[in-house]
């Protein structure tokens, strides 16, 4: 085990600095807009660093590395897909520009402006469900990472994760978006350094020939060609392209950066510049996974997740390991803080506050949001400790995200760019979009008892892709059939003049 007192010192100093900065930012927050969207004063540099930090957690590194371990170099096609998706959203401003023009604080607010209040409540609930289910495995993956990289047992990891959640919860609850953004910035800097050092040591640990040999021996040609790889293939590529396009334009923690931007143009620039890093965000940890394959071949299922952290624990010297663990903790904290705030603000503003009929004051909404930050934190600990990991973490993350993104892509995309989109179409899109991912999650648990004719329903590539098709079909058919009974609301003037 390489973990020494120097590594501990680095982590303690770093955590102390993060808490101090998070609490320092709290004194600048005076109202709800300051709390949820940082007073809409985030510029390109800060917006870019915090968007990347939010989307780069330990969980991301873990499932990307696992993919590299299981699929070899072929997995790296995912990095190219995600670069294309975010670049497209940044260049076109698809959805994010419209939402920023409408000055909404959460995505479901759009549903009420364009459709109706009940659509906003259903959209908010689905977003909350998909988001918290998606976030459920974060803690578990972080636990696996820490236990193997630091060389401790799983019981110590649970304690570390609880402490980390308390730290993140505290500054997120009290400081809101500005604390999140300030600490994200710090975390981004530490994480970037940690990733650079790790990559240098990974290159020193094995030769390219050794890596190529390991991929060839373990995976054959499917370790190099994504189109012939059984886990990947065309259906995976199309599903991932759609999912990442939807996530880029709709995933609340990321979109919060566009909504916090000082102008719609700044929001677009933040996305365009950030997209340049998204290939690296996937490909760098995938390469670590490939290096781990050459050092620890033959691991399957949940064990395959431990290959990369085991490799890091073995190849990184004292001090560098401390920087990387601090960087990983940093990455997790920035992801947790943004996600906690995003899901807590959705359930509070878009569901609870509406059920009270707008009678809650801004201060009460802020306090309820804080309570939800704490509740989601408790849920994360329980889910992380009790849930059994799926074999392919990346697909779990995307399929749970699809519960919301598949329907929302149609409800919001058509809502912004198709005049005929109406209330019924939005209901249909949200519900039909969620059917396939929920069916997948339920059926994959009883896969062994399913008749062979229904096994195709447990294929995540199919379920994910089908969810987008169903969502779009629901919107188009629902809207066209009910144009007279439910005339669409025209928001063209709001998009032109702003709210």
């Amino acid at each position: 085990m390489n973990f020494s007192w120097i590594d501990w010192l680095i982590i303690v100093v770093y955590l102390g600095a993060t808490i101090s900065v998070g609490l320092y930012a709290k004194k600048f927050v005076s109202d709800l807009s300051g709390y949820l969207v940082a007073g809409r004063r985030i510029r390109v540099g800060l917006g870019t660093s915090t968007l990347i930090a939010t989307e780069l957690g330990t969980v991301t590194i873990m499932y990307m590395a696992q993919n590299g371990y299981q699929n070899g170099f072929a997995a790296m096609v995912f990095g190219i897909i995600i670069l294309i998706a975010y670049m497209l959203v940044g260049r076109t401003g698809f959805i994010i520009e419209g939402l920023r023009k409408l000055r909404v604080m959460t995505i479901p607010e759009f549903y009420e402006i364009r459709y109706s209040r009940p659509v906003r409540i259903i959209g908010g609930l689905l977003l909350f469900l998909g988001g918290t289910l998606n976030m459920g495995i974060f803690l578990k993956l972080d636990g696996v990472f820490l236990s193997h990289a630091m060389g401790f047992g799983d019981s110590a990891v649970a304690v570390i994760m609880v402490i980390m959640l308390i730290v993140v919860g505290l500054y997120t609850m009290f400081g809101g978006m500005l604390s999140v953004i300030f600490t994200d910035y710090m975390q981004f800097a530490v994480m970037t350094l940690g990733m650079l050092l790790t990559t240098i040591f990974a290159f020193r640990a094995v030769s390219l020939h050794q890596v190529a040999q390991a991929v060839t021996t373990s995976l054959g040609s499917s370790g190099f060609n994504p189109f012939t790889n059984g886990n990947l293939g065309w259906s995976f590529i199309f599903w991932m392209l759609l999912s990442n396009f939807a996530a880029a334009s709709l995933w609340a923690p990321g979109v919060a950066r566009a909504l916090s931007a000082e102008s719609p143009k700044t929001g677009k620039r933040v996305y365009t510049i950030s997209s340049l890093t998204f290939a690296g965000r996937a490909i760098i940890p995938m390469f670590w996974g490939v290096v781990a394959l050459s050092l620890y071949p033959g691991l399957t299922g949940e064990d395959s997740m431990s290959a990369m952290p085991r490799m890091l624990g073995a190849i990184l010297p004292t001090g560098v390991l401390g920087i990387l663990i601090a960087g990983m903790l940093a990455a997790s904290m920035s992801t947790y803080s943004s996600y906690l705030l995003a899901w807590a603000s959705v359930i509070t503003r878009d569901v609870i506050a509406l059920l009270f009929g707008g009678r809650l004051s801004e201060k009460t909404i802020m306090n309820i949001t804080r309570v939800w930050v704490a509740l989601i934190g408790v849920y994360l600990v329980l889910f992380g400790l009790l849930y059994t990991m799926p074999d392919i973490a990346l697909k779990y993350v995307y399929i749970t995200g699809n519960i919301y993104t598949a329907g929302a892509l149609s409800a919001i995309g058509f809502g912004l760019y198709w005049r005929k989109a109406n209330n019924v179409g939005a209901y249909a899109a949200l519900i039909t979009g969620a059917i396939a991912p929920i069916a997948f999650l339920l059926l994959s648990g009883i896969k062994s008892s399913l008749p062979p004719s229904l096994i195709w329903l447990t294929n995540p590539n199919f379920s994910g892709f089908a969810s987008f098709a169903l969502g779009a079909a629901g919107m188009i058919v629902g809207s066209l059939l009910t144009q007279k009974s439910n005339p669409p609301i025209d928001i063209t003037h709001l998009l032109k003049e702003g709210r």
């Binding site: 540099g45 800060l46 990347i52 970037t192 340049l276």
Partner: protein, 57 residues
């Protein structure tokens, strides 16, 4: 089984390009982000000072 080197070099090339984009953009964002943070802090301090002056006046 014969070790395949050509696709390895292609993927390592893609890895290097994505790495350069990642760390290059990161350095830029860290530099610009620092300026943005200092601006927000300065604005907030000025706001607090103005509030103080108004109260004492």
């Amino acid at each position: 089984m014969e070790t395949v080197m050509t696709p390895t070099y292609i993927w390592i090339g893609i890895f290097i390009v994505s790495g350069v984009l990642f760390w290059g953009t990161a350095v830029w964002a860290i530099y610009r982000g620092f300026i943005d943070i200092m601006d927000i802090v300065t604005q907030e301090k000025e706001k607090a000072n103005r509030k103080k002056q108004n109260t004492s006046a």
